[in-house]
Amino acid sequence: MSKKEELNPDYTTFIIDDTKYETIVPTKVSNRKAWERPNPNMITSFLPGTILELYVKEGDVVKAGDKLLLFEAMKMHTVINAPFDATVKAIKISTGDKVPKGELLIELK
């Protein structure tokens, strides 16, 4: 029984606590993306939706709480505000654009 298992080509090396194990690693685990620290300057969409209105243009100086854009998702209008005092470095979308979740909308600096 073990001989057959040992020859299984699906086995790969999996390390836990400095110990190497020979085992099957499902794609859900092997496809895990390494965690990246979120960049607070990147304003991204939290849901798929539509850009209804842009309140700023590139170069504008904004204060914490200032309106950046109006976003429509799940049939609700949500205002996305500046999280801190910043300058609008780049606007990646235009009014009317339909965006998926996690799309970069505005870059601050």
Binding site: E5, F14, Y21, T23, V25, P26, W35, P48, M74
Partner: protein
């Protein structure tokens, strides 16, 4: 009118109801590879054992074209019968009658049979095949669903509840299977989701088919919502019948006892687990080497494969098995596997089924995704489920038992009744490589040849701690047994545990980490 005429009238009325939605609708159902409601019940239950009730129930809706509409049995068939002689209550939605949609009387029929099942303390089987709420009946349909979910909850842990998804089961309706104990699905026929592809497309713009969103495979491999996967309805019914033989009729009985049988000779228990603790094997072979007739009935085979759960028999009695699977992810515990095991442990505890645990794991799966998914909360479910269970619980440590995993897998400290270990067992805080690196960090760093020193220290740790005797010296392990003795020790332990009594402080119920 004389009796003969009345009987003819009865037969005629029955004939009409048995037509369901009529020949055209039945043909459509068959074209989709689906059986009709009554065909399914008759295929599942013992021959001639089915008694149907509420055939003549009619809806009383008047709005939106319902007035004058004749719906046979209001779209659902209910009744009682037996499976291998065990009583069961059953309902099967009839997709040929207005898409099997649920209206007030349809729901009343279902809640009636549920009430019978609870009162008469027998297993409930629900065959779901419905387009959902009958919109024409408005909030009456919602009321119907609510009444069903309440009863699913009240019956939970009192009688076994089985859901069979043989068609669409969408929107609110899908909460009924979610509340039951076992969900059976069939490839290309079962569809379960809260919001369907059309709504998802219009609100979120995401495109996905019904099958990709909530087909049988998705629920068996990804969501963990289903427990058994079949390629055809016929195969599904065989699975249901087999499950029934393993479980009791209600929570005050034990499952039926079968003729004891020896495991099959082809499974040589001493040959299965490799000496090298880093090499994989299929733990199901160990289970098969131990259970009667090597007959292991696995549950949720396709999900969280790093842990194995299912039923087998020891000396004729049903036993629930939980086992780490070293051939997948080295048998680690993680969110999904903890959920899978914990719920099964609670089912066994509710229905007087002793639990045997086979342990071989290096710990929990590390990773930011696991932490952020709440492995803390999910992992705690296993600790809760084992600790709470009062059925006899026996653990056999096959090989590795490291750290938190050692505690979670029904250790002595969670009040396991018996803990046996194989001579191969390594019961330690972590593996020798990891441990040596931490404990002997200084020696290794300061050594002339760090690699040589590390190797020597790993060997030293292995010698001292990678064995079952340190744990045995404290009585944390009751005894060390040879693999060939395992079945004998398990059977004896279970025999003497028949009258087990546990005293606990009284409480309404605990608050498990959900």
């Amino acid at each position: 009118m004389p009796l003969k005429k009345k009987i003819l009238e009865l037969k005629k009325r029955k004939e009409e109801v048995l037509q369901g939605g009529g020949p055209k609708a039945i043909a459509k159902q068959q074209a989709m590879g689906k059986m009709t409601a009554r065909e399914r019940i008759l295929a599942l239950l013992d021959e001639s054992s089915f008694h149907e009730y509420d055939l003549f129930v009619e809806h009383s809706a008047r709005e939106f074209g319902m007035d004058g509409k004749v719906l046979a049995g209001d779209g659902v068939v209910i009744g009682t019968g037996t499976i291998f002689g065990s009583p069961v209550a059953i309902f099967a939605q009839d997709f040929t009658v207005m898409g099997g949609s649920l209206g007030l009387m349809h729901a009343r029929k279902i809640t009636k049979i549920m009430d019978y099942a609870i009162k008469m303390r027998m297993p409930l089987i629900g065959i779901n095949d419905s387009g959902g709420a009958r919109i024409q009946e408005g909030v009456n349909s919602l009321a119907g669903y609510g009444e069903i979910f309440y009863r699913n909850t009240i019956a939970s842990g009192v009688i076994p509840q089985i859901s069979v998804i043989l068609g669409p089961c969408a929107g609110g309706a899908v909460y009924s299977p979610a509340l039951t104990d076992f969900v059976f699905v069939v490839d290309n026929i079962s569809k379960m989701f809260i919001t369907g592809p059309e709504v998802i497309k219009s609100v979120l713009g995401e495109e996905i088919t019904q099958e990709e969103l909530g087909g049988a495979r998705v629920h068996c491999e990804t969501t963990g919502n289903a427990h058994f996967f079949a390629n055809s309805e016929a195969e599904c019914f065989e699975q249901i019948k087999k499950l029934i033989t393993f479980i009791p009729w209600n929570n005050s009985k034990k499952a039926l006892r079968f003729e004891p049988k020896h495991p099959k000779a082809q499974y040589k228990i001493g040959d299965i687990v490799p000496d090298n603790p880093n090499k994989p094997y299929d733990v199901r072979d160990v289970i098969r080497a131990v259970v009667d007739d090597s007959d292991f009935f696995e549950i949720q085979e396709m999900w969280a494969q790093n842990i194995v759960i299912g039923f087998g028999r020891l000396n004729g009695d049903t036993i629930g098995f939980v086992a780490n699977q070293p051939k997948v992810l080295a048998g680690v515990l993680d969110c999904d596997s903890s959920d899978k095991a914990a719920r099964f442990i609670r089912f066994c505890d509710a229905f007087n089924i002793p639990i045997v645990t086979f342990e071989d794991l290096p710990g929990y799966l590390p990773g930011v995704d696991q932490e952020h998914q709440g492995v803390i909360r999910h992992g705690a479910k296993m600790l809760y489920a084992y600790s709470e269970a009062t059925v006899p619980r026996i653990t056999v440590i096959l090989r590795k038992a490291y750290g938190g995993g050692y505690i979670a897998m029904n250790s002595r400290h969670l009040q396991a009744d018996f803990v046996f270990a194989w001579p191969l067992a390594e019961i330690a805080v972590m593996g020798p490589e990891g441990a040596a690196n931490i404990i002997f960090r200084k020696e290794i760093m300061e050594a002339e040849n760090p690699d040589e020193m590390r190797k020597a220290k790993v060997e030293e740790y292995k010698e001292k701690f990678a064995n079952p005797y340190v744990a045995a010296s404290r009585g944390y392990v009751d005894t060390v047994v040879e693999p060939e003795e395992t079945r004998k020790f398990l059977i004896h332990a279970l025999e003497i545990s028949l009258e087990k009594v546990v005293e606990r402080p009284s409480r309404k119920h605990g608050i498990p980490p959900f």
